[in-house]
Symmetry: D3
Subunit: 293 residues, 6 copies
Amino acid sequence: MFLPSKILEKKLLRMLAEDIGQGDVTTALVIPPNSTTEVEVIAKESGVIAGMEEAKILLESLGLEVENLVSDGEEVKAKKALMKISGDTRTILSVERTLLNIISRMSGIATITRKLIEKIRKAELKTKVACTRKVAPGLLYLDKKAVLTGGGDTHRLHLDDMILIKDNHIMVVGSVEKAVKTVRKNVSFSKKIEVEVTEVEDVLNAVNAGADIIMLDNFSAEQIEKAVKILKNEHLYGKVLLEASGGITAENILAYASTGVDVVSLSEITASAKALDISLEITKTKASKKTGN
Amino acid sequence: MFLPSKILEKKLLRMLAEDIGQGDVTTALVIPPNSTTEVEVIAKESGVIAGMEEAKILLESLGLEVENLVSDGEEVKAKKALMKISGDTRTILSVERTLLNIISRMSGIATITRKLIEKIRKAELKTKVACTRKVAPGLLYLDKKAVLTGGGDTHRLHLDDMILIKDNHIMVVGSVEKAVKTVRKNVSFSKKIEVEVTEVEDVLNAVNAGADIIMLDNFSAEQIEKAVKILKNEHLYGKVLLEASGGITAENILAYASTGVDVVSLSEITASAKALDISLEITKTKASKKTGN
Amino acid sequence: MFLPSKILEKKLLRMLAEDIGQGDVTTALVIPPNSTTEVEVIAKESGVIAGMEEAKILLESLGLEVENLVSDGEEVKAKKALMKISGDTRTILSVERTLLNIISRMSGIATITRKLIEKIRKAELKTKVACTRKVAPGLLYLDKKAVLTGGGDTHRLHLDDMILIKDNHIMVVGSVEKAVKTVRKNVSFSKKIEVEVTEVEDVLNAVNAGADIIMLDNFSAEQIEKAVKILKNEHLYGKVLLEASGGITAENILAYASTGVDVVSLSEITASAKALDISLEITKTKASKKTGN
Amino acid sequence: MFLPSKILEKKLLRMLAEDIGQGDVTTALVIPPNSTTEVEVIAKESGVIAGMEEAKILLESLGLEVENLVSDGEEVKAKKALMKISGDTRTILSVERTLLNIISRMSGIATITRKLIEKIRKAELKTKVACTRKVAPGLLYLDKKAVLTGGGDTHRLHLDDMILIKDNHIMVVGSVEKAVKTVRKNVSFSKKIEVEVTEVEDVLNAVNAGADIIMLDNFSAEQIEKAVKILKNEHLYGKVLLEASGGITAENILAYASTGVDVVSLSEITASAKALDISLEITKTKASKKTGN
Amino acid sequence: MFLPSKILEKKLLRMLAEDIGQGDVTTALVIPPNSTTEVEVIAKESGVIAGMEEAKILLESLGLEVENLVSDGEEVKAKKALMKISGDTRTILSVERTLLNIISRMSGIATITRKLIEKIRKAELKTKVACTRKVAPGLLYLDKKAVLTGGGDTHRLHLDDMILIKDNHIMVVGSVEKAVKTVRKNVSFSKKIEVEVTEVEDVLNAVNAGADIIMLDNFSAEQIEKAVKILKNEHLYGKVLLEASGGITAENILAYASTGVDVVSLSEITASAKALDISLEITKTKASKKTGN
Amino acid sequence: MFLPSKILEKKLLRMLAEDIGQGDVTTALVIPPNSTTEVEVIAKESGVIAGMEEAKILLESLGLEVENLVSDGEEVKAKKALMKISGDTRTILSVERTLLNIISRMSGIATITRKLIEKIRKAELKTKVACTRKVAPGLLYLDKKAVLTGGGDTHRLHLDDMILIKDNHIMVVGSVEKAVKTVRKNVSFSKKIEVEVTEVEDVLNAVNAGADIIMLDNFSAEQIEKAVKILKNEHLYGKVLLEASGGITAENILAYASTGVDVVSLSEITASAKALDISLEITKTKASKKTGN
């Protein structure tokens, strides 16, 4: 999930442009044109930091100097300085809120993702924790990147990178089996096929029809264990990947992770993430002596 | 905060485009070209609905027929059908996630906003509840619109619509008084001037320098009461608006609202909103008999 | 009204792109690839210069070196050199017309704005001179910025930064009073409310309903004086701002400014501005000795 | 200069979007959602109308019904109704200013263009009146289209559609002759070659080097007559086109047109055009009885 | 690879906009405003048609009526009418070239793709024919869609939908084995891993390190057979997919397809496709009797 | 056809963005963040190189260092190194395919163009070789620029730069004569008028009606010679330009060029160009020792 800076820059500048509107009227009136400032971005609470790369790209595109003091994915304590920025005061104060919104949201997502993974790792399980496409609308890139920074699995990046046959597809087609077979016949060799099943009975059908991954949707942990047992009986366990999804929360994630599935996925890490509290503090400021312009 | 549909449509289609990428490969393989479907959007939990207008604009721009069953701002119980959609099955399934992400996020924000306001109204207080610019990056319009739908105050829509002198502006300039005076001298007659103060002592300075609104930043409820008393003593209470901001949460909001301030503002309703659980269910589907194309 | 350079750059490059089309065919044929040139931008007539900041951002984004010899808002005589530019000859000649169009239009607006203000200041009046939203379509930012540079008031920057209830709003709602009251009930605390009145009788209604600013639309100077007298009688003069608008020209502006209004606004400074005559002259040119590439 | 509506629509919607910002806050508060209105666009002064086509495309893209009562290029008296619009009140009031700005500017340009042409035609001259590329920045399409509507010649539409060797090109290359020859050797067969000359002496050089059009830049009418005589002596008059440019105004245009040139071009019709006074008046309004949504 | 029309429309209109520039000057001068026309798009040579869906979306977005007479993927003989279009003459003539360029290029690609596949199917082989990312720059969507329409495999749609470790990645990392293992450890469960090998020796290493697909790059048919034999000896044949790539042409494709690989991929079907000859012919035209506007 | 780099950059980055999607997942997993690399772009076959300027602009916009080893238009042998690039490894590998696609396509077009021109020059003819607007959709700029680099004539750059009355225009209007006369009456003095004729008989009509250029469409070489003779008889040969178009290929181009026409135009050099084989090879790579960020 590497984007050349220039491509990322465009996405980030669009966010800034919305926030600026016709211009920052306060800064224009309060801050003289040639003032320069040094500031620090500070974590006000502990967490896993994400968005440092994005922040740097945004700030540098505005002509500011940036030194990142932590790397994406690093866990920090409250009061930790994350980044030093220096340059034109007006520019810094105009970008402040957009900058903090990016780091706060992404770090909030990375933090909850990491916490869930650590819970699972402490139980000595290897189950992956994945997000879904339930993100803030338009923030697919930032939200998925933050999950990745937290150690999670991004799942599909959008609708073109894996086949995922969902309940509504199946309802149109008629059955899990028919849907998977139709896809298997025409799909590009480059793509995996995942299918959502809502009944234990459909698990075998899905595997036999040629699915690479089975999403066990809204199953209880017990139902999943039953599905695992069926696959083991048929010597199919381990031949396909199993993903548990739906109804999984921070509270019950361990129960799901213990069932033998390869992946647990949950939407709350992106759709309901709590932003990490981050602020920007001035450490030095001075009016420029430059004249003319 | 009225946007002609065509302008909104563009913002919404950009969200969809990101999610689609080079195309929905699953739907292309599973669903035949001329199938049509009727679906309902269903609230899976109770809350205040927002985003119905945006959803309708997005769907109609794609050639789908839409009937909204509830209006923005309406409070619904779980299982309530919000919207009927009919038209091309492939289009419906490709837009499903973007559609739900919009309604879920906006309804989540409207729901928590309404809840806080009702808490305050039950205590028979008229204090306004406002959001801040701490939104998901790039979602200023959607997030502010959702707050409005929930009954809250949008505060600044971006950096050009009111003067808000913040701590960092003051640090560059030297003092609250100096900052406000500088602004007052040059500001457009069309704009209000708000200034953030962090010390009780600065409240009077701010008012005397010509501020229209005082933001009491990170004050305890007790400090605010002290500030109110000072203003009353000087017969200035009621001449300026008072906004309490910083550290306000669902738990302590009533204490703040009771101090005599006009507005309490808090970022968690936008920056850390829990998405409302919404889903899309097929009610009827059929293959088209149209041939040729 | 401060925009970070990168955001402004995008607006300015779009202007250039329209003018270039598929490429400058003349320059491509006449000027060899590695030629470099030094040029000066010269005022051909006296006036108040605006657009220097925008020009610099545009030129630097193209890789040219720029030295501004005057600042925005400075008054210059004919023949004054405003700016030195050096760099790739092809680039300079391709951007020449877009560059001059920006400075010419903005300086034309700044010049007429300043002239009107000076007329008023000479009469020892403090009345503000504001523009309206009657600008060249799509040039809201440039035109308003030029007014500001000339010393004028920008009035609303677009439709989201102040409430301005116009004649057509009132016609739909029924009365000035009803319109203002409706707004007052629901408006964000961050916004001022202005209302347009066309009858002297409505001035008091507007104030009593809660307007912050009264726009006296198409009033004669005598009618305005009558309105001022009424407000004074009610001890309301000074409690609201008064804006005279409609029918105001360079000729009669002093009569209006003398009535006691706070602001006179007129559209001709933006909608019918005469461009200042500006040209670009080569001071040094040489073919590059660079070979290969 | 025909643009399919959909392509024009995009340019026009961008103008509207700038003016709307995050939304029309006044209309949102004052006008209820389902109100519909009928309005007329009225000329407040006499002139040649332009921009009707653009206006219609913009309005129809917003879902409004439009009936144009005059055609582009028609001359109207004051008080003439130009257009009827009906539909959603909020949309009409939000687009009002952008709509009027387009028609006002374009009609202003068409009016002055037509006036100059009529002056020349009354003198029974066939000289064409052309604009230059000195337009409001970014408004090349609208300004040129308005000149065309007024009966003028658009000259170059941008930098790719004709060769025009200007003074600065010549200064880099060394001489008119050298510049024209260089171009003639490599130019596409599809393009005409025009060259700017500042000395009578260069006219013959330019023709002999292969120019199709000679721009006589900043010549007095007498100098032009001298140039014409030289060409006639050499039996070259009529073999190339002659354009007089620079210093031409409404006052002296007839003197220039009488010299025997084919074209007179002047920038003031686009760069310093006075907007025609146009307004929008409500003729009928009603709240919708539609409920729900 | 299904894109909702509105998303596709935007891509297609951008192509049209580039071709139109500031407007179709010929059509504007020759064709009167209210003329309507019926035309047919005709195949001038036989082939497999692609781009009908894209063409329809583009034309309908311009307000034209369209009837497709053949479906994407249909094979036609010369002189076959593909599509009827009716509507505004100016619009039809302005879009003609862009329309034909889309259908010509896409049909050219579909035709050569189909031809290669039929060659292979006639030999009773099931080998898939895939394209690569060697497309006309910026035409990834259209070119891949055309391959699909011809019956080919799209391979990666862009850089985010499968892991493909190429020679240059391996050169940086050091070895096929190390590269595959690094990826396997961190890759999303949703993605397949393909690796390019240039030596027969590396095939086993790649499989053992965990690759899902092996690209045999620039192997001769004999080398591929050797690699297949090695895999069979190790009972690994059939456990991974094999793709032959590099140096494959219409001439030798059968030799490669016969080696036992699953996929043959070649760039010439997209990078060097011959456009199918398609034209647009008027069948009926009439001036509109509509007056005024 | 000179575009300032910044304008070109935008077009080129859009191509890259399509290819990257949500990010290069392979490079992100395989290549560590601070690795730097030196690479060379190598011609794998001989040809005329084009796209070096575009490539350099794209790469430099991504922060890479570039040294072009050949200039646009230079003819090279196989194995020739065209360009050295150094910088961030991830960025280089992510842009590799887009970069090569640009150079390959443009060089393929330049190579075939040059070959045809040399064929004609060897026969000591001066006939120009022009392309048409039959390009890859959306690639008008790149394809025309490549033709120019190969020594060809770009013909119209889009629909606004010359009048070209085609068969379909004539069918609507009624006759060649009527179409040309209509245009001649209203056309801008800045534009040439070309008209397509399909019958020898129409050639004189076209010239007499005022056309500057006659396109002899789908004429055999013999028919063209007949047309030339007619013009000579009327002493009109040499007064207008003659373009042969339609049915011209690499095989018969000499026959057409020998007929006395000024220009031969053919679509296959752009619409069916074979991409030149170009590759990118790493010459040096190292992990950065930079830590932190």
